[in-house]
Subunit: 279 residues, 2 copies
Amino acid sequence: MQIVETVVEMQKIRRSLKGSVGFVPTMGYLHEGHLALVRRSREANDHTIVSIFVNPTQFGPNEDFDRYPRDYPRDFALLEKEKADFVYLPTPAQMYPEGYNTWIEVNGVTDRLEGAVRPGHFRGVSTVVNKLFNIVQPARAYFGQKDAQQCVVIRKMVVDLNMNLEMIVVPTVREVDGLAMSSRNVYLSPDERQQAPVLNQSLELAKKLWLEGERDSAKIRLAMVDLIKQSPLGKIEYISIADALTLRELEKTESPALISLVVRFGKTRLIDNILLGKP
Amino acid sequence: MQIVETVVEMQKIRRSLKGSVGFVPTMGYLHEGHLALVRRSREANDHTIVSIFVNPTQFGPNEDFDRYPRDYPRDFALLEKEKADFVYLPTPAQMYPEGYNTWIEVNGVTDRLEGAVRPGHFRGVSTVVNKLFNIVQPARAYFGQKDAQQCVVIRKMVVDLNMNLEMIVVPTVREVDGLAMSSRNVYLSPDERQQAPVLNQSLELAKKLWLEGERDSAKIRLAMVDLIKQSPLGKIEYISIADALTLRELEKTESPALISLVVRFGKTRLIDNILLGKP
């Protein structure tokens, strides 16, 4: 496994690679969810490149950029074990040099949900992913379903800008109690951690109701709220029942629907989601 | 020479091409300026692709999108003669399908000059060029110096987004009386056409003063204004003396400087520019 630290070196290596490249962009502090992406990439491509970059432009001024967890030695060991071919570690100064001023705006699908709560977040995400795609030039890029809106936004960017790659979304990997794996789970206190599976439980409840025929989004949401309230450390920020492609809220829960929610535990925002029907 | 009419067909052809691709994006109604770009591309690349697309998103609501001159048979004949390999003719519906909503914003250098007078113009330009670059994947792309700010904006986009291509700016081609070639020259009445070389004359005067040692931008501008006023059909919209890279206005005309101007003849905006020193 080779560690690559500059744009120029990454571009040079990319030019030398024959065959297909699979790409897994991450912010590091890797967990099983990331490793599932790496495995999928290795199955389908001649080379797998994993980037680790805590991207400053997708964090708001009061968000957790500085305290976002980092552990490069552990990440390298995990990727070595998964037989990733390259780990690419750009620096903020390389990605955003003095005078940097070009931004990708995916409008519409970024107005809602995380985009509404975190202004500028998706502009930062789409811009950095666009840059990484241009540097790495993958045939396939792998993202986790846990960040559902991010997947919708990046897919829209790829389609709208005619980017020459296939985007692959991999199901969320969960802890044994159902909590979606996330680098931010490390922020949780033991009590919070114990109650955090309520996000997944509320989504499973919604799915059960939907499979039983319930289509009234208000009723589904109410049932989720009732369940989550039994975990008093969790504060619901939003529960969205939306069209899985446009992210427009649905009064009737028609397939394909994306139910997504944010529950705060102390300062920690946990997100999770479930798809109903094929998107 | 092959005419390509869909995104999918262009992508398929691109995948089949071995060796380097040179790309000349145009809005058609070709003149010697465009053909100079095609020749430069043919000298340096294994394949040359020319696109013709009057891009609706770079025209304002009161601009000349509908009446912008078009003559495909003549364009095809000229490109055939220059031995271009492919002419790519996307349609607005293909480039901007229902629900299209992704935009490239190059901030800073788009605030001034043409960007200030034509809000949204450069957003449309950078977005369409980004898309065309992704479809055509050129090793080198060719642009005319006549659209000086466009060259600065696209170069900034290419650098900021780490796009994998070389951008080549080719000197402005002029009529024998010095008028910069432009598809819009066809709008000029005979009287206007006779006076239109005053743009180039004023730039040559500025260069002469600069070569003689004048560095006071106000004095250079005043001399240009005095000259242009001798052509009463022309109305000066702006004369800019700016840093050639940042486009910030210069009080002292230090190299590299870009002197650019817009003069209106009736409804027709003519633009021209000159570089002082190497950018």
